[in-house]
Assembly symmetry: C2
Homo-oligomer: 386 residues x 2
């Protein structure tokens, strides 16, 4: 096991009716800015529950944070938070709303200059408005981590930052709030969670036996629960299981003692979203099988382990098992209802590969668990997803 | 899944050489009181590493905290901490040292009256001296939880308390510090960890699929790693795996969404330690198989699941698998090197059962996952461990 620090001070409050706990979770006597997205929370009762819990407080609102939250939108929200002296930000919605709110929290406390410097890694995060979340879409794990991904129109960039200053003080997860999710969002959440676990687990360097088994626990639970949700979208247990998987998938636990992580799929996927507007999770379903096929020789022992423990494959040698594990993963994505090929989106794989590879090379991105996947390798990977 | 709150703000710093991090982890300009046990830290180099990291600071020491830390000892330490104005307590040692230090932290900030009232549940914890730990014995999970168990000579009691005020601010775990542990301590740590996981996992009420699999992950890793340690006590990877298992075994993660926990084994075991002086872990190895055999019918589904997933038992019906799972657990304890019967300690099971049952009944203890195991049931359980 590699040396590690495990630190996660988020108070996760999980269960039916827990939105009422906002009463005690948000400090009194501060102006609360509630942030949200396209307004689905006003249809599904979540907004009403939040308002009821915040009755009697000074509350302002900022709606309209979009999927793949935009820098331009967040900067308007940060200006409002500053102007109104917001002392607490409450994100109500999915990972995009919370990611956007994390950036708003930092931007509202940023001195002079453009806080985009943080996204470019040119400025540190030294302060943020305290924040919390009511999470209505299990997917990103943002409810219990320090990450946020923000897109910028003017440059076509999609970048990530991380800081302990943007740990939510609390996150409320009520599985009932996910009953009314569109199928597409539910599917995306399952794929996103699965991919987060894989990016941490599917490396060949070093061993962390307990942490690996915990990663496999999330994968096994997703494989077991995902097929049930379409027929029973209001089954509390199924929704709760998917939600808990999403949180554990990216709250740091699965990185403890792990020598290397990969994230090649996410880096390539982010470029496909920026270039072609494909949903984040859907880019992962397209790219992850291709990354694993391209890197099969290097990832062989872990892929073979995954074959046995997650997919129950008992026959064949390690190479055969590894190849089958990738096929089973791709079939799982398709069974969830998510396409796994660029042709499903009418995108030319060769052109996409060229454009993605160029953009990543321009930023000097280190790609893959060894950080050594260059332009040629990226083009080959994208080509495998044709 | 049952509603739950997951909150654990401990910063766990895990790996070789991490004791040097004390420099940055302990706030400057406070008097640090270092607490420890019988002095093994002075033989194995840990004390020297701590002194080097604290060079230039105001440090006082309190040694001699015993296994099953005693109230009387802790009260002397609390008096010293008060007198010297200790602003930070650093526990260096195993779970007993840290448990004792948690009580010292509370007692040093307790107003008038006897802080034993906290142990009896008659007074709340409202304050504690900030504390941290250098953990040298993987077992109790105390490094990342709010629990402490304290014994009192004058009454022969052994009681537990819990409070978020005694979360360590940090815990440093360097697996190398465990290379020199006596076999007996290593064995006890493995049993203690195994039992902690089981007490949270082995219940029949409700389902929490991901959390159950995480519990099985710890059990599987213990079963895999435990046989290696006697032959290779200085194998870093084996020691690291056992240490990480101990922390995850009782840091709250395995309780997330779980409807009921049991802890009957611990409650009965504590009485056996108080009455006969048997090591804590060794009482668990004796009592846990007996509890499971006594409660087999009620715990059948989970025992059968454990049989398949942890012990790889594929044959027989659920009842046969469940019975086999208990036999395999008892055989595992014995293979670790720990006896599993009261007769191994020359203790009369009938008399022990009578005395334990009386003591628990006097305190009105609620025992078992349903809290309904009365005097008769406790006598029967202890008799099964003859």
């Amino acid at each position: 096991m590699t040396a590690f620090t495990c630190y996660n001070p988020v108070k996760l409050v999980f269960g039916k009716g827990m939105i009422a706990e906002l009463k005690t979770l948000i400090p009194p006597d501060v102006t609360v800015m509630v942030t949200y997205g396209g307004g689905s929370i006003k249809q599904n009762g979540v907004y009403d529950q939040v308002c009821a819990a915040l009755a009697g407080r000074t509350v302002i609102e900022f709606g309209g944070i979009e999927p793949n939250p935009r820098y331009e939108t967040c900067m308007r929200a940060a200006a409002l938070a500053k102007k109104e002296g917001a002392g607490f930000l409450l994100a109500v919605g999915g990972g995009s709303v919370l990611d956007g709110t994390k950036f708003i929290a930092v931007a509202a406390r940023y001195g002079t200059g453009d806080p985009w410097a943080i996204m470019e890694g040119r400025a540190p995060v030294s302060d943020a408005v305290p924040l919390g979340a009511v999470m209505t879409l299990p997917a990103t794990g943002s409810e219990m981590n320090t990450f946020a991904v923000i897109s910028r129109d003017s440059t076509g960039e999609k970048l990530a930052f991380a800081s302990p200053h943007v740990y939510p003080q609390f996150s409320i997860l009520d599985p009932e709030t996910t009953f009314s999710l569109p199928d597409r969002q539910t599917q995306n959440g399952i794929i996103d969670t699965f991919a987060h676990v894989m990016e941490q687990y599917m490396c060949a360097v070093g061993r962390a036996p307990l942490t690996e088994r915990m990663a496999e626990s999330v994968l096994l639970t997703l494989v077991e629960e995902a097929p049930k949700v379409k027929a029973s979208p209001d089954d509390y247990e199924v929704r709760a299981n998917l939600m808990w998987c999403a949180t554990v998938g990216l709250n740091g636990w699965l990185g403890c003692g792990v020598a290397a992580q990969d994230w090649a799929t996410h880096m390539i996927g982010h470029e496909l979203t920026a270039l072609y507007g494909i949903d984040h999770a859907r880019t992962l379903a397209v790219i992850m099988p291709a990354v694993h096929r391209h890197q099969l020789a290097r990832k062989l022992p872990r892929l073979a382990q995954c074959a046995v423990r997650v997919w129950g494959i008992q026959t064949g040698d390690d190479a055969a098992r590894a190849a089958q594990a990738i096929d089973r993963m791709e079939a799982f994505f398709q069974a969830v209802g998510v396409p796994t090929r660029l042709s499903d989106y009418d995108i030319d794989a060769d052109e996409a590969g060229r454009r993605v590879a160029e953009r990543l090379a321009q930023r000097g991105a280190k790609i893959g668990e060894y950080g050594d996947l260059g332009e040629q390798a990226v083009r080959e990977i994208v080509a495998l997803a044709r």
